[in-house]
Amino acid sequence: MIDLFLDRYIYLFVLTLLAIGLYAVLAKTDLMKKLIGLTIFSTATFLFFIEGSLKEDGTVPIIDSRGSDPTLYVDPVPHLLILTAIVVGVGILGVGLALLVRIYRAHGTFDEGIIVSHMNDEDPHGVPHYPGGHP
């Protein structure tokens, strides 16, 4: 049990962070907080990959005077994947923030419930488009 914990402790922390992020995206009513939750979620995903790239006795994947023996260096592939994913994440964040600025201009609040009720009030047909405002 303790061995398992020592082997996997980063994984368990990553799981906790993923859960916190997912919970925030689904349960928070403030849209900005949802976006913060999304950032926490994706950063935890990155940590999961980088944690898996580590290798006993490995070092930074920059070939040095010790030569090109693959066992000397940690796995570079997850590094590349996460470099890509970080940039993608910032792109999504930029679009998300732009959308939030527009939402705030229209509604004057980040409260999802109030925005939903605004929209249902405006609706000429009286059909609730956003029942319950969830999630």
Binding site: L22, V25, L31, K34, L35, L38, F41, S42, T45, F48, F49, G52, V77, P78, L81, T84, A85, V88, G91, I92, V95, G96, L99, L100, R102, I103, A106, H107, I115, M119, H125, V127, H129, Y130, P135
Partner: protein, 491 residues
């Protein structure tokens, strides 16, 4: 080295950059660039489809590195077929007048055409990629382009777009986690390479978990029934051209990726009876989606919202087809991807034509339009009849194959659901026909409506011609393209 595997993507990507630069010079230049780029991509993908059906799949090694090391593009019949659909619809949207397609007065520095081209390029990349992570990158390109385009639909569109951004990003996060588990278990990212390693590891909980995560992530992208929550808002509040693009091809990219990964990467060792019951779940959720979408569509008063709920139902058909997984069912599913792309984009473009001349969206106020806007509304009639599944038209055949597959497997529930859903579809379109064609115009705006502009009529009728041709030439299409696709998926 056959460059046909990458040419459609290159045309669209270069077109996007040129459109950005052209937009700084002239406000109309980006549309010209977009039409040229999509037309070239369409020609390239049609050539690709011909080459592939004659000579077998093309494997293209990007960067000159052989597959497990470098990234591989595979153009087989399925991806070439999908590419033709994507570029054809994309070209029509590029031709469609910008004022209604994007609900937007063209201005120099509002880059709608670059974004449209990037959306199409993202779809093209997803459909040509033979690498799991490369697929993720292109999933994100088209997702981000979609967030921007949906936000063109005013304040409601912006809110719908934000919700879609949350769900879409969670979906791609789940997909990425699944890919991570696969990489750490197999040491490769190439689909073909992984497909050889995975059967040896059958029963590994890591692979099963990855399968669950990837299916959920792509299900979110494809808006399969319980994960469809973002779709009705995103599709009904976005401008008509964008809605046509989203319903016709964008959600299909999720369906394509699911099909590809379930059948070509995981294979029967995981999706079959021994592994996770993903297939059965897909079929059940698909059926639930058909019922849910059809019933809710009848209750909508806004034409675009009706079409959006109908999309939920139509995606259910595709889910059912993938879930049943037999040859006939796969033929039905792939055929439905084509048919739904043609029919739904035709309907959305008709809705755009109505908005162009009258500004109306509520079906109840369409009374008399059938007599005023004859060319547009006759196109509407053809697309709607095809949606219902009236025999010589395209929409009949996919339902026919799905029902045949269901009867073949004694799966009467599926057959019953499809037939009853078609009945419901018939009911709501008949109600619309009655309003549009039988009643007289009650409002001045309808009575004075002119026929739609030539590009609107042209694009709508291009799609209607395609619906009729695909319907009549169906046997040839199934024999030459869709049949081989199903065969190669089953293996």
């Amino acid at each position: 080295m056959n460059h046909l595997a990458i040419l459609p993507l290159l045309f669209l990507l270069s077109g996007a950059i040129l459109a950005v630069l052209a937009g700084t010079l002239n406000k109309n230049a980006p549309q010209v660039v977009a039409i040229t780029a999509t037309a070239s991509a369409l020609i390239a993908s049609m050539l690709g489809l011909r080459t592939v059906t004659q000579n077998g799949p093309i494997s293209y090694e990007l960067g000159g590195w052989p597959p497990p090391i470098g990234i591989e593009y595979t153009l087989d019949t399925l991806s070439a077929f999908m590419l033709v659909i994507v570029t054809f619809i994309g070209m029509l949207i590029a031709i469609y007048p910008a004022r209604i397609a994007f609900d937007h007065v063209v201005r120099r520095n509002v880059p709608v055409y670059p974004l449209t081209l990037l959306l199409l390029a993202g779809l093209t990349g997803v459909m040509s990629s033979g690498d799991l992570f490369h697929l993720f990158v292109f999933l994100e390109i088209f997702a981000i382009a979609t967030y921007g385009l949906v936000a063109l639909g005013g304040d409601r569109g912006v809110f719908a777009s934000f919700r879609y951004l949350l769900f879409g990003t969670i979906g791609s996060g789940l997909y990425l986690l699944g890919v991570g588990f696969l990489y750490f278990s197999t040491g490769t990212l190439n689909m073909a390479d992984m497909a050889q390693i995975l059967p040896e590891m059958a029963g590994s909980t890591t692979i099963l978990g990855a399968l669950g995560l990837i299916t959920t992530g792509l299900g979110l992208k494809m808006a399969l029934f319980p994960l469809h929550i973002w779709l009705p808002d995103a599709h009904s509040f976005s401008p008509p051209g964008v809605a046509a693009l989203l319903a016709a091809v964008q959600v299909k990219a999720g369906a394509y990726a699911l099909l590809r990964i379930l059948f070509d990467v995981f294979g029967p060792a995981y999706t079959g009876s021994a592994g996770l019951p993903v297939a059965q779940l897909l079929a059940w959720f698909g059926m639930a989606g058909i019922v849910y979408g059809s019933v809710l569509a009848t209750r909508q008063s806004d034409v675009k919202r009706l079409l959006a709920y109908s999309t939920v139902a139509q995606l259910g058909y595709i889910g059912v087809g993938i879930g049943m997984g037999s040859r006939l069912a796969l033929i039905g599913a792939v055929l439905h991807v084509l048919n739904h792309a043609l029919m739904k984009s035709a309907l959305f473009l008709v809705a755009g034509g109505i908005i162009q001349r009258t500004g109306l969206k509520e079906i109840a106020r369409f009374a008399g339009l059938g007599k005023r806007m004859v060319p547009t509304m006759s196109g509407f009639a053809i697309a709607a009849l095809s949606m219902v599944g009236i025999p010589p038209l395209a929409g009949f055949w996919s339902k026919f194959y799905l029902i045949w597959a269901a009867v073949d497997e004694n799966n009467w529930a599926v057959a019953l659901v499809i037939v009853s859903s078609s009945m419901i579809t018939l009911v709501y379109f008949l109600r619309m026909f009655e309003t549009i064609f039988v009643r007289d115009a009650s409002e001045a705006i309808v009575a004075n409506a002119k026929i739609a502009s030539p590009t609107v009529i042209g694009t709508v009728w291009a799609l209607c011609t395609a619906i009729i041709v695909v319907g009549i030439a169906n046997v040839a299409i199934v024999r030459n393209f869709v049949g081989p696709i199903a065969d190669s998926l089953i293996g």
